[in-house]
Symmetry: C3
Subunit: 137 residues, 3 copies
């Protein structure tokens, strides 16, 4: 089996995108390949400029403001910068879901530069099944 | 290892049920078996007639109306019809969580016809561990 | 591959913590090892005394009160007691995410006694990749 972490990223709230980037970083540090498949709200969150409008999940809203304050104080990099660093340090590929792209009439140039290309769900499953860890986030 | 995708479906919002059906379709197209274990809100969403009342996740409410409009305009089939088609095309089994059934005093005939039977969590884990991809949705 | 179920527990709503405990119980009953990695809101939910304030996910609020009533009536143990029992019956280890601990300046003694220790995300990935099932909850 390939030493690979695959993540289907459906969610588009900032607190759920942090674990995506942190898991990618952790995996790269352990020598793993990382494959990310952005779909639905996870893809919307990667539209150019969307980052500034991302919200904390409503379930944790009450704690969200404190988390944001602490992160700012400790100068924690944004989730997107954390993902960019993971891409610089290891083999991390980010794909946009072709079906979501079609549905919302998006083009690759509408998305942040961390996105490497467009893929179908079948192609992603084929890569994921050869890997060791697959997560839906 | 079996060429199998296992999904534990806990969520019962319509935007999260679409990926279940789309992943099932994609997996079937790649020749994979699919096993789905409905629990908690994911099981409630399969009660007969529940489909019409399903909501978009509150975190994405603001984008939900536009998504619904686009899907209607492009005549995207419902998530349940997408799952039905996947079942016709390949080896897709849908199980209801026995514990949730007991708790809410549900019977198999209370559920949509895509549900094949009732299973315990241990039985599901036993099938999932032999497969290549397991997701919690 | 190790007969192991690994769960990254990001969520901190009571309805999502039940499946963590129930999956742990089911896995232990099937002879599996269980490894749990608490991060973000999942870790916050394990702060001493936090259990009493846990909420149902907002998406299912309308059904939450009925669920709570049924569970009380049927004397279903709390998710935390279910996890405790799983730990007594099998090899279940619960780790707190080191990064979240640092960020919120938490110490091990601030957490419920089910938590065995602190771990880094890389260490957890290394354990998970040797196991058969890995889930993000």
């Amino acid at each position: 089996m390939a030493n690979r972490l695959s993540m289907i990223v459906f969610s588009g709230t900032v607190d759920k995108l942090y674990p995506v980037a942190i898991l990618a970083s952790g995996a790269v540090a352990m020598g793993q390949e990382v494959r990310i498949f952005l779909t639905f709200w996870g893809l919307m969150a990667l539209k150019k400029g969307a980052g500034a409008q991302l919200q904390v999940s409503k379930d944790y809203e009450a704690m969200g403001a404190e988390m944001a304050r602490i992160m700012q104080e400790k100068k924690v990099p944004s989730w997107l910068d954390t993902l960019r660093t993971a891409k610089e340090l290891g083999d991390v590929k980010v794909y946009a879901c072709g079906m979501t792209m079609d549905l919302f009439q998006l083009k690759l140039e509408d998305l942040e530069d961390v996105v490497d290309g467009v893929a179908g769900v079948g192609e992603f499953i084929e890569e994921a099944r050869q890997g060791e860890i697959s997560l839906f986030i």
